[in-house]
């Protein structure tokens, strides 16, 4: 990683640690919310941004994670068991969801993931014996870590921050390993990749599975944050918003989800000063952002570099053209 990126991350870490001192309870809650969505969208960024798959059903895994924790805790088991179960279940289901990806072309894969999300949401809504149906599951407790209660918003915020940093580090390690290049090869040219020995089937399945695990972990944290789980946050609409977050942040850029989740979660809050118009401004901002930066917010440095490069090259070209005419004239 470049030095500037490391300094940037360090500065952000300091900010994230100190921020709660300047915020009221709701601000801390919002920050925690944002962190949770960073985890979830990092998973989606892996599936969609790095591995080039189509996934419009990510919120389903988010919901599976949340409901797993809620149901298990209601049955008297610990949060930690729920968290582990959430991750495992999402991994398995993610692999299963990856199978259609092996056989269907892009747009139909998107539809299949939508269908998956729909199925999961219907189960959440209708299977009252399991999920409480539209009434949901309430009074979900916050966990305690080594005797320390994480009940307060501040404590839970620091806990979520720690988990976020851990998940980020794991993903960074994975993408830095040969897996990172394999995913990129799968995204940019699967036929070529296969002819070079990249097992595109396995990597496709794993890109779904690992992305799902991230959403599941985020969902588990979400359950204890909001302490009341019902089907509404896990609809197709929510998946589409997560997709929006990944694309706006910059698909395939490691820190894209940080910005994307900020745009999706924090920006609408910040825009509330516009009152009735705030969602209109948000929607318009997304449209304009896409037209101006189709590769997402984090593509700005690349674009600046490309423009500089183009300027250098055109200056070099005109310089050599001038030299040529000069020589020609003097010949």
């Amino acid at each position: 990683m470049k030095k500037t990126t490391l300094i940037f991350i360090a500065a952000c870490a300091v900010l994230m640690l100190a921020a709660p001192q300047f915020l009221k309870n709701y601000g801390i809650y919002l920050l925690t919310y944002w962190l949770i969505f960073i985890i979830a969208t990092m998973g989606l960024n892996l599936t969609v941004g790095y591995a080039g798959q189509k996934s419009l059903g990510h919120a389903a895994f988010f919901g599976i994670g949340a409901y797993t924790v809620a149901i298990l805790m209601k049955a008297g088991l610990s949060f930690w068991l729920g968290l582990s179960a959430a991750a495992l279940i999402c991994f398995v289901v993610g692999i299963i969801l990856g199978f259609p990806a092996l056989r269907v072309q892009t747009i139909y894969l998107a539809f299949a993931t939508l269908g998956f999300n729909t199925a999961v949401w219907l189960v959440m809504r209708n299977e009252e014996w399991l999920t409480g149906g539209t009434f949901g599951i309430n009074n979900i407790a916050r966990p305690s870590l080594l005797g320390l209660s994480l009940d307060g918003n501040l404590a839970y915020y620091y806990f979520t921050l720690a988990v976020t940093l851990l998940m980020v580090a794991l993903l960074w390690g994975l993408l830095r390993s040969p897996w990172g290049k394999a995913f990129t090869a799968l995204r940019d040219n699967p036929i070529r990749a296969e002819s070079l020995g990249v097992d595109i089937q396995r990597y496709t399945l794993l890109s779904f599975a690992i992305g799902a695990v991230y959403a599941g972990v985020a969902g588990a944290l979400f359950a204890s944050l909001v302490q009341f789980i019902e089907p509404a946050p896990f609809t197709v609409g929510a998946s589409i918003m997560m997709y929006l977050m990944v694309v706006v942040g910059g698909p395939g850029y490691f820190l894209g989800p940080v910005l994307g989740a900020a745009v999706g979660v924090v920006l609408p809050e910040w825009l509330r000063f516009a009152q009735a118009w705030y969602l209109f401004v948000f929607g318009s901002a997304v449209v304009l952002l896409m037209i101006w930066l189709p590769d997402g917010l984090l593509s700005i440095p690349d674009r600046i570099k490309a423009k500089k490069q183009a300027r250098i090259e055109s200056a070099a070209r005109s310089a050599s053209a001038q030299a040529a005419t000069k020589n020609g004239a003097s010949a």
Binding site: L174, R176, S177, P178, W179, G180, K181, A182, T184, A185, D188, N189, I191, R192, A193, E194, S195, L196, G197, V198, D199, I200, R202, G252
Partner: protein, 262 residues
């Protein structure tokens, strides 16, 4: 899963043996009983007019399509039913007629990813260093191909000719026994064709990495083929018309009539 190249390199055994390969598309017989062998270290050319079945033959050898009948043997092992992934694991590399580099990765990374899946298992690769220990190999090939000055750039930013060189280099990274080259000169500036020919000869006789690979080359550029190949197979309408050295092919009356012209 790891497939080390364990094979009997007994002297005289062909690297590639195609026996009576047939493939029809409905009523059209694209390939009608083609047989030939390629010996270790040999450069084997395949020429013929459009529609002669070269591409279908190639795609069968590369596992993209399954032939109707016939056998394809790689170092004595039957690989007729193998797909592209399996073939690569067994030691077959290839280049593509249209450019197929990973545009958003650097040239060096392109080369690394071209061989990284051959080291260890998927699980072990999670913990491997980012270049999988292939940095030196990649650098050796970069120097041999004279693309050191663009090695750090994204492959998509290179000129067509340079990308073509990267494409060819990628095929060699995994030290394959057999490399199939699909029209390596297609779309290349005529001034660069000689360079490619020299490079391929070098890779064949004096590889900086790995062993002496055998090549099978489809090309339309006659001078290129005659200069580069040890033996040439002429295909016409799905059948083998002749197999021989460049001199034998040049003086073969049938071939001259059907293909090379006056």
């Amino acid at each position: 899963m790891n497939h080390p190249h364990h094979h009997d390199r007994s002297a005289g055994q062909p690297v590639l043996k195609v026996s009576n390969l047939k493939k029809s598309y409905g009523a059209i017989q694209a390939v009608g009983g083609v047989s030939f062998s390629v010996m270790p270290g040999e450069i084997f050319g395949v020429i013929g007019p459009n529609g002669s079945g070269k591409t279908t033959l190639f795609n069968s050898m590369l596992g993209q399509i399954t032939p109707d009948t016939g056998k394809i043997e790689l170092n004595g092992e039957d690989v007729t039913q193998c797909g592209p992934l399996e073939l690569n694991r067994r030691g077959v590399g290839r280049t593509f007629q249209t450019l197929q580099v990973f545009g958003k990765m650097s040239v060096r990374d392109n080369l690394i990813v071209a061989a990284q899946e051959h080291a260890g298992s998927m699980f072990s690769r999670m913990f491997a260093p980012t270049d999988s220990g292939l940095g030196a190999k990649a650098d050796a090939l970069i120097d041999q191909f004279h693309i050191r000055h663009v090695a750090h750039k994204k492959a998509g930013e290179l000129s067509y000719g340079q990308q073509k060189l990267v494409d060819i280099a990628m095929a060699f990274m995994s030290e394959p026994d057999l490399v199939l080259l699909d029209e390596p000169c297609a779309g290349v500036n005529p001034s660069l064709v000689g360079g490619i020919s020299t490079l391929l000869k070098q890779l064949n006789q004096n590889p900086k990495i790995g062993k002496h690979s055998s090549f099978v080359v489809i090309e339309h550029n006659m001078d290129f083929v005659m200069d580069l190949c040890h033996r040439i197979m002429v295909m016409v309408e799905g059948q083998v018309m002749a197999i021989g050295t460049p001199d034998e092919i040049r003086s073969n009356k049938q071939v001259l009539d059907a293909y090379l012209g006056s």
